[in-house]
Amino acid sequence: MPRILNNKKPISVGRLIIYIVLAIWSVTTIYPFIWVIINSFKSSNEVVRNSFSLPEAFTWENFTNAFSNQNILRSYKNSLIISGSVTIVVMILATMIAFALTRYQFRLKTALLALLSASLMIPVFSTIIPVYKMISQLGWISTYQAVILPQIAGNISFASIVMMGFLRGLPLEMEEAAYMEGAGVTKVFTRIIVPLCRPSLATVAIFCFLWSYNDLFTQKILISRERMFPISNLLEHISSKYGTDYGLMAASVTLIVIPVLIVYIFLQKNIVKGLTAGAIKG
């Protein structure tokens, strides 16, 4: 692991301060999470009255409410397929774009860069209806591809730009060496760049997945059939709209969040592995 300076002394004051600062911030990030989980075991009234203590009347009813709709497993599957496909395709396409835009010089480069940045700016509300028209004419409403394709487009610019940031930080020596030895560009790309980028790839992939997973708006408009609902749609559908059932809402959030966290924690380990392997450079 990188260290700025080798420090062999036992916990110094400086170290301690660092830990305190980090701990404070981690409290702010962990607490809301715990809050949501605790409150998913309370009835809605209790959540409103006293949201900060442990449940007085511990109840599973919010979860049984949510699960009583048996399609929940099917929605998880839908979400996985949709967000998984989006992530994989975006990562491939974005890395390619990032590679091209950082390693080549050509006339259209600035124009393409500007175009890429511009697409980052385009609000989804402005394109959703024309996209809906298009998808509908293809007869693809309520299919997986209806959501996958626009989401890919929506994510490519962001992923490309982030990958460009990382690629810029990679020194050129290894590519140069391989290229001089006669390796074609594609080989350099697949055998050198991609493996080196693994931590960045994993990072961007997680964000991509999350963004697609949580994107309720696109999913709502392009998917109307309940059996194709991804999990965010389904849970919003279930959540009470007549008055607010905060308990059910907390349970829904928990149900949405847990799978992603599990995926993230697993991927974390891969990132670390990638780091230690990739750190052996040269």
Binding site: P2, P32, F52, I122, L149, F166
Partner: protein
């Protein structure tokens, strides 16, 4: 630069840009077209009105408020979101134990969707019985209307900034790992202190990543929607907490003035492009290559 043959270049660029073309650029051109017409509903173009939507923008006070709020948000996100993320990343890369713990934990707010976070903070800010007021009352103080005109903006900014620190944190941290140890070791041999190492080695080498982060932060600030809308729908109170993103949604989907909304979308994109070009000029991310 390095690679002589240009043909693979096309292969690399084509698929991605093709997707962008079909699902983003073409619909957006449609959107631009819509802004020149008076529209009835979401699809029907009724009457050509030329630039009159854009002229209306010049006089729309709520739009000006949204613009100013968005600009403020941009500044705040750069300083605080990226700033705090940078600080945390440097700190975390400095410690031996607990790195993985912090990395996992700082990520939590991002996993929770922005809407859920908004609902959470609503329960904090609620006047009657919200968590903050409950806390005040246990100390014998009067409840405060947190969403009153004077404080609403701050109350919205706090969760918006907080929730995305983890995002930049992870990106910067990954970038930090790309800096090989040898440079630091060489520097320490030369007598460089930790602080100097940060300023002279880390920051410059992070240039590309930081530029990315700042661009993303700024453009994110322009588009932000879910959080502000859940906490303060329709720019409550009275439209003073509107941002460009929320204002556009309100105009197009609530007021059903679709053509004007389309014009605002165009404005958002133009503004964003200008800002990101400026950032690129200032930070010169390609300087290292």
């Amino acid at each position: 630069m390095l690679y002589k043959k240009k043909t693979p270049l096309i292969a690399f660029l084509l698929p991605g840009f093709a997707m962008l073309l079909i699902f983003l650029y073409v619909p957006f051109v449609d959107n631009i077209n819509n802004s020149f017409y008076n529209m009835k509903g979401f699809i029907e173009l009724q009457k050509f009105i030329g630039l009159s939507n854009y002229k209306e923008m010049l006089q729309d006070a709520k739009l000006h408020t949204s613009l100013i709020n968005s600009l403020k948000m941009m500044g705040l996100t750069v300083v605080f979101q990226v700033g705090i993320a940078l600080l945390l990343a440097i700190l975390v890369s400095n410690i031996k134990r607990g790195q993985q713990f912090f990395r996992t934990v700082y990520f939590f707010p991002i996993v929770i969707s922005a809407t859920a976070i908004g609902l959470l903070f609503n329960l904090f800010y609620n006047y009657k019985g919200g968590a903050l007021n409950q806390l005040l009352q246990t100390f014998g103080k009067e409840p405060v209307n947190w969403m009153a005109a004077t404080t609403a903006f701050v109350m919205i900014i706090i969760p918006t900034i907080w929730s995305y620190v983890g995002f930049y944190f992870v990106i910067i941290l990954t970038g930090l790992f790309d800096i090989s140890d040898e440079i630091y070791e060489a520097a320490s041999i030369d007598g460089c202190t930790k602080a100097q190492a940060v300023i002279r080695i880390t920051l410059p080498l992070l240039r590309g990543v930081l530029c990315t982060c700042i661009t993303l932060a700024v453009t994110g600030a322009l588009k932000v929607f879910d959080l502000p809308w859940v906490i303060a729908p329709q720019g409550a109170p009275g439209g003073i907490t509107h941002f460009m993103g929320t204002y556009m949604y309100q105009i197009a989907f609530v007021n059903l003035n679709v053509d004007y909304g389309a014009a605002i979308a165009v404005a958002i994109v133009v503004l964003g492009v200008i800002v990101s070009l400026v950032i690129n000029k200032i930070l010169k991310p390609d300087a290292n290559l």
